[in-house]
């Protein structure tokens, strides 16, 4: 069952108790649909087909990455962000949803939905490790949706890093990816 998780408007929520907060909730809403989890995209030193694998790679780094950037970890990373503000929707209520995307949900009169379609750990022997994201921003109303790929290098990320620092690095990269994406989405609207 889909869990609905109200994360942002933290300032408003911290000032007023729940029911009062709901009564005073802004009409505008930014719905964020979290990704299923972390996918991988790895590539060997010799760049031939045999070494290249697709998303949800069986030969990626399953043991190290298992359990990282789960929907719960994504929620935690996003809670401190002012995503509505970054997307030009300052003051909107941010609502975090577990996937899959519910296109039937009644949109708010203003705001939009942000879909974290893919979050991908990219590992290439010839380049840097990176966290990539394919995100979609669909403003409520008649504005066109915007989708693009963003990438944040993980220069200090190592395969044998301790899980806590690896997790922290991935969460940080997710936040930077979202900041980068929001910048592009706002620029595209101009």
């Amino acid at each position: 069952m889909r869990s609905l998780w109200i994360a942002a408007c933290s300032a408003a929520l911290s000032l007023v108790p729940g029911t009062v907060a709901l009564a005073q909730a802004p009409a505008c809403r930014v719905d964020v649909w979290l990704a299923d989890g972390l996918e991988t995209n790895s590539d060997g030193a010799v760049r031939i087909d045999a070494h290249n694998r697709a998303l949800r790679d069986r030969d990626g780094h399953p043991s190290m990455l298992a359990g990282m950037l789960t929907p719960a970890a994504q929620r935690s990373a996003l809670t401190g962000m002012d995503l509505p503000g970054l997307l030009g929707q300052a003051g909107s209520l941010m609502v975090l949803h577990d996937g899959p995307v519910d296109n039937v949900a009644v949109p708010a009169p203003c705001g939009g939905s942000l879909v974290l379609q893919h979050i991908v750990f990219s590992h290439n022997q010839l380049s840097r490790m990176a966290l990539q994201g394919v995100f979609v921003w669909r403003p409520y109303g008649s504005a066109r949706p915007f989708m693009t790929l963003v990438s944040t290098p993980l220069p200090h990320f190592t395969v044998d890093a301790d899980p806590v620092s690896a997790d922290s690095a991935l969460r940080g990269a997710l936040v930077r990816n979202l900041e980068q994406f929001a910048g592009y989405a706002v620029a595209a609207r101009r």
């Binding site: 995209n41 069986r58 010839l126 380049s127 990539q132 394919v134």
Partner: protein, 224 residues
């Protein structure tokens, strides 16, 4: 999980349900080739390979060239995987008249969501799906490759494998070939909206299959 998608079956179901409400509706015509099955699997593997002028300078040049494009190719591979994920590939193929294009008997098209492990595709000669169909065939998308060469430009190449079993447990005929067509929009520039590029990938992927099917039919005709 597999999805069985057959236009004829869908029409039967639709007609049957309509028939329950309106008894005067005509009974659906039986499909004579319902026993035939065409199983379709999407690709597991995506690759993006960009080569510049460096490849003309020997091994060192090729390595430097490869390293220079590695970051971009990693992003292009993810873009490919996103636009042509397994449901995207099977949906694209299912929008085509597969049996017609392959000039085979009308068949129930069975779409498999999970790709086959790439290294097993050539090794395993028997039926990959549990089926006793007396008229069984398989269409496997083996590889999806984005290629950009300094001279030839950008293209999407797709390797398809078509295996016809008839009533046998092992393939009686295997046809394997690449389809390849040029790209004009993909890859998008950083920060650009990628929807148009994704649409182009899907459309070129379908064109790749159509090219493969034409070659398969030509090869079939040549052997008869």
């Amino acid at each position: 999980m597999i999805r069985v998608l057959v236009a004829s079956i869908a029409s039967i179901v639709t007609a049957a349900s309509a028939g329950a409400q309106a008894p005067t509706a005509p009974a659906p015509a039986p499909t004579p080739a319902a026993a035939c099955e065409l199983h379709v699997w999407p690709a597991e593997r995506f690759n993006a390979r960009t080569t510049g002028w460096g490849v003309g300078f020997g091994l060192i040049g090729a390595l430097a060239d490869s390293a220079g494009h590695a970051d971009g190719d990693a992003q292009r591979r993810t873009s490919l995987s996103s636009a042509l994920d397994s449901p995207g590939q099977t949906a694209a193929l299912n929008s085509l008249a597969l049996a017609d294009l392959l000039k085979q008997q009308p068949a129930t098209v069975v779409l498999h969501d999970a790709p086959l492990e790439r290294h097993t595709v050539n090794d395993i000669k028997s039926r990959r799906a549990t089926s006793n169909s007396p008229c069984y065939s398989e269409l496997i998308v083996a590889d999806v490759l984005y290629q950009k060469a300094a001279v030839y430009g950008r293209s999407l190449k797709t390797l398809f494998i078509y295996r016809q079993f008839g009533d046998a447990p092992e393939a009686k005929r295997v046809y394997k070939s690449w389809g390849g067509n040029g790209l004009k929009i993909f890859p998008p520039k950083p920060g650009e909206d990628i929807q148009a590029a994704n649409d182009e990938l899907v459309s070129v992927f379908k064109a790749d299959f159509e090219e493969f099917a034409r070659n398969e039919v030509a090869a079939q005709t040549a052997t008869h």
